[in-house]
Every structure is written in structure tokens, then in C-alpha cells.
């Protein structure tokens, strides 16, 4: 019996941990859609959702219920297996990445050594959901959307990888908790500010958000890769997209904005800011980055496809490559390279 519990008890702990992580993420997703509509309406001098519940706070619930009630349509020319699997994959991939995210000093479900590589791997898998949806729908609009998205995500991943390399040069570890702890004196957004800006623009492209929302491009592609989706499949895509936004913001926070560390962590503010627990600071910083997502969407017109590719390959890639060399040289010359075990 003892051996049975040695297996089952850790399993229960892990499942509880997963539930504790996923439920706030899903609530965050629901209220991110609400926040997006409210913030954009404020920027455009409108009211935004205001009728369902006080201040329209129940609007996400109403939207969810509405989507549940819709009819599920599978186009006759579609490839049903791949068609149904694509939204599922998008949604699952946007959630599994949270397993390695450090929410506090020791608050992490799985503290693996290669945390940042894991996040990079999961975000590079995200393209499959889109491209499979585009292909399986057997529709020209969806297919064009899927192809665009594949090219776009692969392009911007390259510069994202190089940006992660600069951060890794400064920390000497793939472990996310250690990356955060290396930022105790100064957040990496300060010394690596150009990288932070490029990283932010790259995650906009990676999550297919405005001004890089070409895979959807409703002006020319109707609805892009999810033109043919309805009901819960569509809802899964939406949930996946918004939860990817939160995830990418969390990665930006961990890499550049000091993760769970409080801001102004010096005298005389230190006792005050340390009253607030780390996970709250983490959430607040994520919300800060997400606000920029919404702000960008309300401000900028959509890029043209060739401009998007030019920006990714001809500007970001050479610049980040140069900055990797500059950072490495600076670390070497001033002797700031992190000490490694052997």
C-alpha cells in the first residue's frame, strides 16, 4: 500500500498544481477579451461592452455561452480528423507551456534545466495549429491564411531565438528561475533595451496580433485560417490565441522585466514593495505588457505581407545578430560573463 501511495501522492500534487495554474489562466483569457474591448473602446471614445452584468463584466461569460449554443459545421470538402484536431492542438499548446513558468521564488510546477528551450520549442509548435486548420478547411481563404501564418511565425522565431541567446549570455542558464534571479540588481529590459523592444514586436508577430494579423486579415482573407470554423472549435482557437498572448507576455516578463521580483526593490521602497507577494507582481507585469498589445492594436494599421517579411528578415535578424556579438564582446571585455560550474 505504501508503494501505491508513493506513486499516487505525487500524481495528485501535480494534478492539483495543473488545476491551480490553468484556472487563473483561463479566467485571465476570458477577462483579457473583456479588457481588450474596454481599453480599445476607451481609446476610440466608445462605451464598449456595458450591458451584461455590472460594467459589462459578465460579457465574456455571455460570449462563451453563445459559442456553446452554435451549430458545429464541418465543411464537406474538409479533412475531418485534421480539421477537428487543429483547434485542439492550438489550445493545448498554449496551456502546456505554463508548466515551466516560475510564478514566485519556488512556485513552479516543473523547474527543469532547459526551461527557456522548452518554451521556445512549444511556441515553435504553435504554427501547426494554424497551418493544419488552413489546409484541412479546404478553402482558398483558409489555406492562404495558413501559409502566411507558417511563413510569418517561422521568420520571427529566428530573431526571437537570437534575443533569447543575448539573455542567456547574461545569465549562463536555461533555467527560468535562475534567469529571474539574475535580474535582482537590474532588470534586463534596461541594459538590453533594444532587444526588449524587438522581442515585443516579435511576439506580436508570433501571436498573429495587430499590426501583424495577416493570417486572419479580414480585409482580404475574410477570416483567414479560421474562416470555416464555428462553435467550440472557433472558441478553442480564440482561447488559444488569447492564452498565447498571455504566455508570450509572461515570457517577456521573465526574460526582461524581472519575473516575480518587485520593482523599486531598494531603500526606502523595499519594505513596501515586498509586502505584495511575487505572483501578484508577476501578474501585474503581464497585464502591463498585455496593455501594450491592445494599445498597438488600437493604434497601428495592418502591415502588408512583403513589409512584414522585410522587417523580420532584413531588419530584425541582422540587428539581433549584431547585438548578440556586441553583448558577448561587452561581457567578455568587462569580465561580466556568468560563472559556470566546471
Amino acid at each position: 500500500m505504501a508503494s501505491f501511495w508513493t506513486f499516487v501522492w505525487p500524481l495528485i500534487v501535480i494534478v492539483a498544481g495543473i488545476v491551480v495554474i490553468i484556472i487563473p489562466v483561463l479566467i485571465g483569457v476570458a477577462y483579457l477579451t473583456y479588457a481588450e474591448r474596454k481599453v480599445m473602446s476607451a481609446m476610440q471614445r466608445r462605451q464598449g461592452p456595458a450591458l451584461v452584468g455590472p460594467l459589462g463584466l459578465l460579457q465574456p461569460v455571455a460570449d462563451g455561452l453563445k459559442l456553446f449554443g452554435k451549430e458545429m459545421v464541418i465543411p464537406s470538402g474538409a479533412n475531418p480528423g485534421v480539421f477537428l484536431f487543429a483547434p485542439f492542438l492550438t489550445f493545448v499548446l498554449s496551456l502546456v507551456a505554463w508548466a515551466v513558468m516560475p510564478f514566485g521564488a519556488h512556485l513552479v510546477l516543473s523547474n527543469i534545466n532547459v526551461g527557456i528551450l522548452y518554451l521556445y520549442a512549444i511556441s515553435s509548435l504553435g504554427v501547426y495549429g494554424t497551418i493544419m486548420a488552413g489546409w484541412a478547411s479546404n478553402s482558398r481563404y483558409s489555406f492562404l491564411g495558413g501559409l502566411r501564418s507558417a511563413a510569418q511565425m517561422v521568420s520571427y522565431e529566428v530573431s526571437m531565438g537570437l534575443i533569447m541567446v543575448t539573455v542567456l549570455l547574461c545569465t549562463g542558464s536555461f533555467n527560468l528561475s535562475e534567469i529571474v534571479l539574475h535580474q535582482q540588481t537590474v532588470w534586463f529590459a534596461v541594459p538590453l533595451f533594444p532587444m526588449f523592444v524587438i522581442f515585443f514586436i516579435s511576439i506580436l508577430a508570433e501571436t498573429n496580433r495587430a499590426p501583424f494579423d495577416l493570417p486572419e486579415g479580414e480585409a482580404e482573407l475574410v477570416g483567414g485560417f479560421f474562416t470555416e470554423y464555428s462553435c467550440m472549435n472557433f472558441a478553442l482557437f480564440m482561447l488559444g490565441e488569447y492564452s498565447n498572448m498571455i504566455l508570450m507576455s509572461a515570457i517577456a516578463v521573465v526574460l526582461f522585466l524581472g519575473g516575480w521580483l518587485p520593482p523599486l526593490n531598494f531603500e526606502p521602497f523595499a519594505p513596501l514593495v515586498n509586502l505584495v507577494p511575487g505572483p501578484i507582481w508577476f501578474a501585474l507585469k503581464i497585464a502591463f505588457v498585455l496593455f501594450f498589445f491592445i494599445w498597438m492594436r488600437a493604434t497601428f494599421p495592418r502591415y502588408r505581407y512583403d513589409q512584414l517579411m522585410r522587417l523580420g528578415w532584413k531588419i530584425f535578424l541582422p540587428f539581433t545578430l549584431l547585438w548578440v556579438v556586441v553583448t558577448a564582446s561587452a561581457l567578455e571585455i568587462f569580465g561580466w560573463l556568468p560563472k559556470v560550474v566546471p
Binding site: 497551418i131 489546409w135 517561422v154 522585410r310
Partner: protein, 204 residues
């Protein structure tokens, strides 16, 4: 231990099934998707072995980049499925022979493989015990010290391959209007607008 072997057999079983699907699927897109699943499960097996760095690199490079481009090409090409399957019986002996050779090689290696006593001490770089060093540190330590020149040479080979691909696909066409962002940004009112006094009925 039980859990580990359970996971191992599950992963390997699905890996073998998807490996067979890669060569048996009627639809080439399904075959590529099965290939992706195969890569992914192989990464899972690497994690079980404790080779976490290799596992993540496998997913990033093969699944995240190579297979996406592969899928891209397969979707874009107009492939006739029936034509593809016609040569199956004709090529079966050759394919079977290659497979047989590989199996025989694997068996020979497996049956006659012995590690020389003291080989670990003679290895190019001393390997610290795995609990003292993470395997990304260990790999970096070996690649950037003992095998530095070989590592750089492999990078150069890849660079040359890339340049070759660019040279092959680069062509200059006449009558193509390209956007020059520097020109557009550098444009001033004086370049674009001219104020003229136009006499009535005279035109410009």
C-alpha cells in the same frame, strides 16, 4: 521504474505506429504530420534518457523549422497521389535491401559492442558525473573546447549550403517595381508638389 517503463513503451509504440504511417499514409500531408509526431515522440524518449537539451533541440529544429517547411512544400505542390503509389512494388526490393542492410549493421554493432576498459578516462574531455553538471553545460564544454574547430567547420558548411540555395534561387527580373523605403521616407514636399500659375484656358 514501473512508471518509466510504462511511459517508454507507450511512447515507443506510438512512435513506431506513426513511423509506419509516414510511409503508408495515402495523403502526403498526413505522412508529414505523422513524421512530426515521430520527431516529437523521439524527443520524449530523449527526455526519458535524461538528454533534455537534445530533446528540446530536436523539437525546435526538426519539428519547429524543418518539418514546417516540409509541410509547406507538400501542401503547395500539386501531387498526384495515384501516380506516387504506382512505383511502390518496383522500388520495394531496393528499399527492402537498404532496410535490411541497416538492420544487419545495427545487429552487428549491438552484438559485438564492448566498451574498452578505461575508455572514459581516455575520452577527449573528462566527463563529470551527470548529477554535478547539466547536460547543456556538458555539451557546450565539449563543443567549445575540444571540438571547437570541427564545430565551427560544420557551421561553415551549413552557411555554404545556405549561400548555395540563395544563389540558385536568386534571379533578377526586368520591369519589377520594388518598394524602396529609404526613398519613400526621404521624399519631401518639394520633390512631389509644384505650384504653377495656370492661365485660364491655357493648361499646364
Amino acid at each position: 521504474m514501473i512508471v518509466e517503463s510504462l511511459v517508454f513503451y507507450t511512447f515507443s509504440a506510438i512512435l513506431l505506429v506513426s513511423g509506419v504511417m509516414v510511409i503508408s499514409a495515402r495523403n502526403p500531408v498526413h505522412a508529414v504530420l505523422a513524421l512530426v509526431a515521430t520527431f516529437f515522440l523521439a524527443a520524449g524518449l530523449f527526455v526519458l534518457l535524461g538528454a533534455e537539451f537534445l530533446a528540446m533541440t530536436l523539437v525546435i529544429v526538426y519539428v519547429g523549422a524543418v518539418a514546417v517547411l516540409f509541410l509547406f512544400v507538400v501542401m503547395m505542390l500539386d501531387i498526384s497521389f495515384a501516380e506516387l503509389r504506382q512505383g511502390f512494388l518496383r522500388y520495394l526490393p531496393v528499399g527492402g535491401l537498404v532496410g535490411l542492410v541497416l538492420v544487419v549493421e545495427l545487429l552487428l554493432v549491438e552484438l559485438h559492442w564492448t566498451v574498452e576498459p578505461g575508455a572514459v578516462a581516455k575520452a577527449a574531455a573528462p566527463i563529470p558525473p551527470p548529477d554535478q553538471i547539466s547536460n547543456s553545460h556538458a555539451l557546450g564544454h565539449i563543443l567549445y573546447t575540444q571540438y571547437f574547430y570541427l564545430f565551427q567547420a560544420s557551421g561553415l558548411i551549413l552557411l555554404i549550403a545556405m549561400i548555395g540555395a540563395i544563389v540558385l534561387s536568386l534571379r533578377s527580373r526586368a520591369h519589377v517595381r520594388r518598394q524602396s523605403i529609404a526613398d519613400q521616407v526621404g521624399r519631401r514636399t518639394e520633390d512631389a508638389v509644384a505650384v504653377r500659375q495656370v492661365p485660364t484656358g491655357g493648361g499646364v
